[in-house]
Amino acid sequence: MPLYESVYIARPDISATQVETLTADMTKILEENGGKVVKDEYWGLKSLAYRIKKNRKGHYSLLNIDCPPAALSEMERNMRIHEDVLRYMSIRVDEHDEEPSVMMQSKSNRDDRDRDRGRGRDDDRPKRDSGDTPAVSASASASDTPASDTKETEE
């Protein structure tokens, strides 16, 4: 049976437990049609990058599915009908990754985020264009005191 990854966004008005039952419903539909859900994740209430049906937020859920194509289209049909589902996307994948996805990891270590962002900027800079950095340092030394200027020539 082919492997699928399915993400859906539920309406923000409903509670997290309702999202869980929605996931359970979809799992039941898949199982009735001879498939199975390998893993399901609830990413939580996240803000959307743009408004969908006047909503600014949504409950994100991910399902890793192993099912025949007919079962997936049946689940998608049910998602289309369901009012609480704002959007869904199912894609076929060659393999499922066993560990929790990036979304769950970023949720668990939210404290590390600032440090992560700083590091990301650091390895971004030299890659972009090398011609940028000397210009910045030159302008900085021009505006700075002569003391810092001498320090730079020493380096």
């Binding site: 993400v7 990058a49 969908i52 994100y60 991910l62 990036v102 890659k127």
Partner: protein, 75 residues
Amino acid sequence: MSRRPFFRRPKSCPFSGDNAPKIDYKNVKLLQRFTSERGKIVPSRITAVSAKKQRELATAIKRARNLALMPFLIN
């Protein structure tokens, strides 16, 4: 720094190599580094992503946009 003005050091693709990150539509933080401030996909000649990986990256960004994880445009 005595560097020639138009010297370009050879750039390497950020997605090839041993511990290269995997392109995934769920990894928004990674994808955001390859989009402009307005949300456009940055051309590979600037980011030095290889042609094959750039196609993969574009698909991932478009998937993330569809799921409202990334914006189509920022005003």
